[in-house]
């Protein structure tokens, strides 16, 4: 039972990071039906920028929380600039192109961003300075650290903020209208280009925060960390039903929990035939299983194919 609670806590922590990244995928997909393959790299750059700022400020004797906040505050605008640049340079010119063209453009951009990160931050693993001391709290035999609590709280706050923007503001209404039908939204006076750009900006800001969270959770960053994280987050978005915001949140948390529980229990269930090195298999197995029975994801509704 202790292991169960422990893995649940770890799963929810990781899952809430997935959820925040998944929101970025799902928002962009919802509005222009594009798998933004470079989104994982935006997360990576968020983590790396925050790392540089934190390393620079850490010896200054400031309160640790302020240092991390400063790192995040620098990472967010940098990532937003990259997100905006991606949209302008690689996706907007291809909006009326055949369906796979923007996908290839996105893959190209992700290769470019990854190797730019390699140039700036080297190909080594970088250790995040552990300025916030990890304090364990005990819950029924399991341990939750203050970092985990902070990650979960930040994720929830950001999701709530995003939900407010999307469902309660004029901007959000315009975004939802554009997602439903670009042309009609345009006729109703919505500035489509602006809305799409804003979507990319919000997604990139979320990615930046996710980058900081994942960096401080693992305490380590690497120029290739964006791809697998992006892949899982995208799976989470699809699991929940792509284009659907609550779906991305649900999918993210679910994926994190399944992964953690799977890794924790597979040894027992299979008599130690399979070990926790199969962790990554679970995410995809669950994804395939869910999609076979619910082809549009858990909360997704049937959407027409883009022609």
């Amino acid at each position: 039972m202790d292991i169960f609670i422990q893995q649940l806590i770890n799963g929810v922590t990781l899952g809430s990071v997935y959820a925040v990244v998944a929101l970025g995928y799902t928002m962009v997909y919802g509005i222009i039906q594009l798998i933004n393959f470079a989104h994982g790299e935006v997360v990576l750059i968020g983590a790396m920028v925050a790392f540089s700022v934190i390393t620079a400020l850490a010896p200054g004797g400031w309160p640790p929380l302020m240092v991390v906040a400063a790192g995040t505050m620098v990472a967010i605008p940098v990532c937003m600039a990259i997100g905006y640049g991606l949209e302008r340079a690689a996706y907007r010119p291809l909006r009326n192109a055949p369906r796979l063209a923007p996908l290839i453009s996105a893959i190209g951009m992700s290769i470019i961003l990854q190797h730019l990160a390699l140039l700036v931050w080297s190909r080594n693993f970088i250790a995040f300075p552990q300025i916030i001391r990890s304090e364990p709290y005990h819950i029924g035999g399991a341990i939750i650290t203050n970092v985990q609590i902070a990650i979960i709280a930040t994720s929830v706050a950001m999701m709530a903020g995003l939900a407010l923007i999307v469902y309660r503001t004029r901007l959000g209404t315009a975004m939802r209208a554009t997602a439903q039908n670009q042309h009609v939204a345009g006729l109703m006076g919505v500035d489509i280009n602006r809305i799409i750009a804003v979507t990319f900006l919000i997604a990139a800001a979320l990615a930046a925060v996710a980058g900081v969270m994942v960096g401080s959770y693992y305490g380590i960053a690497h120029y290739q960390m964006g791809s697998l994280l992006g892949l899982k987050a995208f799976s989470a978005a699809v699991l929940g039903g792509i284009g659907n915001l609550p779906g991305a949140m649900l999918g993210g948390v679910l994926l994190g929990v399944v992964e953690a529980l799977g890794a924790g229990y597979i040894g027992d269930f299979t008599d130690n035939w399979f070990g926790s090195n199969y962790q990554d298999v679970f995410a995809f197995m669950v994804l395939i299983a869910v999609l076979v029975f619910r082809p549009t994801g858990l909360l997704g509704e049937r959407v027409g194919e883009r022609t």
């Binding site: 997909y29 039906q33 798998i35 340079a89 690689a90 010119p93 291809l94 009326n96 192109a97 055949p98 369906r99 796979l100 063209a101 923007p102 996908l103 290839i104 453009s105 893959i107 190209g108 951009m109 992700s110 290769i111 470019i112 990854q114 190797h115 730019l116 390699l118 140039l119 791809s227 892949l231 995208f234 799976s235 699809v238 792509i242 130690n272 035939w273 399979f274 070990g275 090195n277 199969y278 990554d280 298999v281 995410a283 995809f284 197995m285 994804l287 395939i288 999609l291 076979v292 082809p295 549009t296 994801g297 194919e305 883009r306």
Partner: protein, 353 residues
């Protein structure tokens, strides 16, 4: 090809044929490495042509295609290496590898083909990762794949006393191992090109095109869309398995590292950059994308040295940056690929008009 004199087409094809036959000897002047690079380029052409059946003809985006290549490679490696002590002849294993890949293609396709568009893409991607993770971990408790260390000392192709791994002199010409493989691969490639070109204009090819353009209408026309999509998946997978087996034999060593997601994405890029659905475009895309990194490898370093006097940035990084940039730029200016298929060309013209 309408409007062109048939005799001219034959002369052209003949010239290309002679050039292809003479190519390895020209390349050998620059070093055997280039013959090897060419061999891998041909393997990529085979992969791209196989994936083109799935993506280009039937319109199903498969992001885990490399898994079938991996299956073919592992079948060959396990049946012809000291790992299990089995040494079956290659003409037996290659079809087995293709068959196993085909089987997995059907296993993956049967439950998932009702998914549409990007949902299918992500499921195939997940499938590719699952296969790779299993290959990576199936060394315990029973050692099947030898895990991350991979399988080594794989047998080369042997036909009687004719060994593809050894050099030989025939008719006064020296044939090194890679050159022999080159001719084998060339023959394979010709066969695959022939099959795909004929397939495209066949009843099946037209059914694929119909499904790709409008599945509902295709069904209304009496096409069994599930079967026809499954057929595309199975055929694409078996081409991948075939190429994988040859890869294992040529390389002599395989490990799960050769079958990562990036490889799948690379093959998709070849298909789309070259021109989805157009066999010649796909070949062009595969040749360009497999040679470009190698050419950059040999040019980036000297160019940097001559401009700055020293090597400022790792050549590998520049190579990948230019590579990514090329992908973005080609899509920006030729969104239907370098050699678009007739249907795509028509679509783009309609949109502009």
């Amino acid at each position: 090809m309408k409007g062109r004199h048939p005799a001219l087409v034959w002369v052209g094809a003949g010239l290309v044929g002679i050039a292809l036959l003479a190519l390895p000897f020209a390349l050998a002047q620059a070093g055997t490495a280039w013959v090897r690079i060419t061999n891998f380029a041909i393997l990529y052409v085979l992969l791209a042509l196989g994936l083109n059946i799935v993506v280009g003809f039937a319109g199903l985006l498969d992001l885990g295609y490399i898994a079938f290549y991996a299956l073919g490679a592992y079948v060959y490696a396990l049946l012809a290496s000291p790992h299990f002590g089995l040494h079956l002849p290659f003409w037996l294993i290659l079809p087995i590898g293709a068959l196993v890949a085909c089987l997995f293609g059907v296993l993956l396709g049967a439950p998932t083909l009702k998914l549409r568009g990007d949902y299918l893409a992500i499921v195939t991607l997940g499938f590719g990762e699952i296969i790779r993770i299993f290959l990576n971990n199936l060394s315990q408790p029973v050692n099947i794949t030898n895990g991350p260390q991979g399988v080594s000392r794989i047998d080369p192709f042997r036909f009687g006393g004719f060994d593809f791994g050894k050099s030989e002199t025939l008719f006064g010409l020296a044939f090194s191992g890679p050159v022999k493989y080159y001719y084998f691969l060339l023959a394979m490639m010709m066969a695959v090109i022939f099959v795909t070109v004929r397939l495209q204009d066949s009843r099946i090819g037209r059914a694929w095109e119909a499904v790709r353009e409008d599945e509902t209408a295709a069904r209304a026309m009496g096409i069994n869309t599930t079967n026809i999509k499954l057929l595309a998946f199975a055929m694409g997978a078996s081409f991948g398995g075939l190429a994988g087996g040859m890869f294992a034999a040529i390389q002599g060593f395989i490990s799960p590292e050769s079958f990562v997601l990036v490889e799948s994405i690379m093959v998709v890029s070849m298909v789309v950059l070259g021109g989805m659905g157009n066999v010649w475009g796909v070949i062009l895309g595969a040749v360009l994308l497999s040679f470009a990194p190698e050419v950059l490898r040999y040019t980036v370093e000297p160019v940097q040295k001559s401009i700055f006097g020293k090597s400022l940035i790792e050549p590998e990084v520049i190579r990948m940056l230019l590579f990514g940039l090329a992908m973005v730029l080609i899509m920006r200016f030729r969104p239907a690929g370098l050699l678009p298929s007739a249907v795509r060309k028509r679509e783009l013209a309609e949109r502009k008009g």
